[in-house]
Symmetry: D2
Subunit: 320 residues, 4 copies
């Protein structure tokens, strides 16, 4: 059994980790850290955790084997500065601090898109867990980078309200968001650079990603559609996708249309490709809190620890 | 007072016309035609109509000044063949029969995108009312055609369940659609030709529209985002939009981000333009049953009859 | 034309009044008062008001014929103390300050449940507009008080998120409220006294109302079901209801089951009565912001001003 | 490993069993029976099952240790007549055929409300799994029957659309149900008899249950509030509830208000009790497809097989 600490356990991704790790057979939750809610039971904040996890949030750090950082973006760096972590502790950061600049202190953060860097992750001591939209878009496009044909990508993605975190905002007010759709950070979403960094690894031309994110009127989930000019035959493309993901237990290449809800409450990504004339569209769907955050973090931990990749991730889909 | 008949009054767009015309000061509903529900009161099918309209559906046609056809697509042609209509009757077809081929019998159907063909509509006797997605996309892009710069357009649009009509389908089952997103008719939606016909009118190059429609988990509304390469300065673009729509009471060019719900239960279209580097994105939002169908049909009737354009269309927004 | 001022125009009920009065043929909006948002256009807060109402919120009061108070509960009293209003101004308070204690300054506030006090309202100068749940429950039960048979009433009601106002709260966070149901103020809701005051007017026995309010996962609307022991025959009961409401244009007694959405975006109340053995259940549905607040306020204004009761209230139902 | 067959695997409760048993460590799915969809993979009907269960539906029956019947109500009897089952096979019926009349063929069906009949279930060979509303209401009230004080119970309950099954109906059409509330089977719901049978077991007076079920605008879940006259002190009541459920791992007596979503995608029931004057209200919440159907069926199987009660039921809550 490995011991685990979660920094920022009172947030959405932190509490989702608790939901996963409470049933993970190889780890034990050692402490749940929260500055603002120290002293409260986490099940008081998230009553779904009653009887699952009756731990009390603390502002005291203990020694553990594995540390998950679930802090607001750009706070992990400070936290690690103020709270030095022994070098043999596996640190998995769910924030965006180390996704683009991956060296900090003596640590070299491996980008935790499991399907792209599985080999590198096996020996990782520090992992920068990808963003939710970044995960959905990269999984949809990675097999095409091998073809070096990607140039202009036009992507629209829609995300649930949990993507915006638990703070109260006008755009997460129920009276506003219910039955509503809106765009935000048009062409300037922070995940674009994260996606391009991966896509450009094996692509010879400079890729442009034109990404329009939308706020959806649902709580969990991401759905994206990427439009790309491409000469390849559809069967050929599908074959390349199946090859690329042949060892990826959580990625499904579907010959039939997909819908977002088929992956909700799972760590899976569903992908569907369509073609018309010289244009292809790749659709992808994930649960933003699982494959898009805490689920992928557990998947990465499993890889590092040499446990079966799906340990603790055999989740009953919500389905309906 | 002009007399009105509605063919297919028992469907979504037909009943929405009833909701509008019940309060229209210049017209009187003469008969509501339905083959399948003849003999029933329309308020039995739509109980929101109780006390608003207590008419009984009939399969008998009467003489009227204005006839709205609200039949399933490709049934208007047959209906007109079987039920000859006097030539001085204003016929407004909400189906897609006459949008691309506009001559039938002795009638020449004017395409009823009010903001584009207001002059032609003034003397029309036959109107092909545009499709819902086609309206939202055209209104978003028309001012750019004047610039003759449109070439490749990448559009994603999302529509409410009323866009799929009242028949029971697996994709309109509540257990499936709630909290769900999915794509359909990717790159092959029937409204693409309708849009291109208008856009190419004043555009010298051949335009390609790559359109990905999504099913949304809401009932009313359409939201679209179109990505286009464009050199023009944003202020310049906004000015062109304001100029283009200066006489259009139902189109708003918003300098601030828009959300879909701000136009629900109104006949309005809200448009917002953003630019980053050489790429612009135009967002548009309409109520698919109003500006996207029955509302625009009433607007067109008003134009033909020389009534104020907003007669019967001063609708309280749902807002929340 | 009468001039109107709205105090607290930036809230839900205040802005809903703007939506109604913008199209009301007999009144003119003179000023929209807001302390916190003075200087902003109301359409910046509620973009659905763009082109409907381009007024700027002010903290200056002007003389008007009619004044609507849309302040948080228990703030109307203070406001009237600090801002004396001439005695011939019609004051309609949408808060709960004067519902139970109806004398203040020289004003005698008439309880504005239109269907119960229409005669008294005709000569009113001050009106205490009823609460939303109070309206739905009273309209469901008033005809039975005549029978003096009401004793124990067991009511469950569910309300949309707009009932909780526009402030950000954990229970109006989209991530929490979507797909969720919960109870609040069980047996202690502030509207119970308001209901009992009316019901006891013509009932000889002491009535007990056991009311359990629920938070619903929708934005607009109230649905209530009241269970009562009652010996009367169902037909007889229905007849009494129809008699009681024979002059009430906004109340429908439905022989068929009702659903909440049939009254959304209207000022109507739908009522349906069922009986099994010695027990009856009365269901009622209203739009909480219209018949439950701003719509009824306009209805009351119409009564006082001797305008047709439905002036400005011929609203297109949302239907879907 | 025990072998399992599911009759009617293509329905909601059948497929939910597949989701649970796919990860259950003590059983192996042997065959999934469906008359109408034989030959199709179940993951074609429910794409969330891709990679979880790639079995093909069959109309051939095989020998198994455990048989779940997930047929429409009143079809289990016929099925068992036409398809004799060996007497040592554990049969768990999720329909309502044997809940009230529990003898059929040589089988004596034990009513499968686990918390009430755990001892009897240990040696059961045939189980009549309770209805969803019946489970939620009984769990809320059972501890009070010991007090023999229950007399008149006034219950309102709300259920998700999955309670109505997968067939397409006007009341499960998304355009109708979204944002809508309605009552059905007022005072006559079929679960009333099921509840009363249990409540009357240890209650000396005749109990009347006045139950009003509502259709909710969500997919999963049940929330109920029962109003009861009761003299006992609240602390005393809570203590009785805690005692009654002290060995029930899936029932939580919460001192804080509960919300429905806290139990969604779990097998748990959350209960909260409030008191005002001489009236108490008991609220309960379950996932209708889990504790209200397939989850409880697995729990009962575990009891019979002497496996840990929560085997295969340690489910990650959906939480958001």
């Amino acid at each position: 059994m490995k011991s685990v600490g979660i920094i920022g356990a009172n947030g959405y991704t932190g509490s989702e980790l608790v939901r996963l790790l409470a049933f993970h057979p190889e780890v034990e939750l050692q402490f749940l850290y929260s500055r603002s809610n120290a002293g409260m039971k986490i099940s008081e904040i998230y009553p779904d955790l009653i009887s699952l996890c009756e731990m009390t949030l603390t502002n005291q750090i203990q020694e553990v084997d594995i540390l998950f950082l679930c802090l607001p973006h750009q706070e992990s760096r400070n936290w690690l500065t103020e709270n030095p972590v022994k070098e043999d502790v596996l640190v998995i950061d769910l924030g965006n601090d180390f996704r683009l600049e991956n060296n900090f202190q003596d640590r070299n953060f491996i980008y935790g898109l499991t399907e792209l860097f599985k080999n590198e992750l096996k020996s990782a001591k520090s992992i920068a867990n990808p963003g939710c939209f970044a995960t959905a878009i990269q999984l949809a496009l990675l097999p095409l980078t091998k073809e070096k044909l990607l140039k202009d990508i036009y992507t629209t993605g829609i995300t649930g309200s949990t993507g915006a975190g638990q703070s109260l905002q006008s755009t997460t007010h129920f009276s506003w968001r219910n039955d509503n759709i809106s765009a935000y950070k048009t062409l300037t979403h922070q995940h674009v650079d994260e996606v391009l960094k991966s896509l450009n690894l094996s692509n010879e031309k400079e890729i442009e990603l034109h990404f329009v994110p939308w706020r959806g009127d649902f709580v969990r989930g991401i759905f994206t559609s990427s439009i790309i000019k491409c000469d390849l035959d559809l069967n050929e493309i599908q074959k390349k996708y199946c090859d690329f993901y042949k060892d990826a237990p959580f990625v499904t290449i579907s010959e039939k249309p997909i819908d977002m809800k088929q992956v909700i409450n799972t760590n899976r990504c569903a992908i569907h490709i369509e073609k018309n004339n010289e244009t292809i569209v790749v659709h992808s769907a994930i649960d933003n809190l699982l494959k898009g955050a805490s689920g992928q973090a557990v998947q990465n931990m499993n890889i590092v620890m040499d446990w079966a990749e799906n340990t603790g991730l055999q989740l009953k889909p919500i389905a309906f």
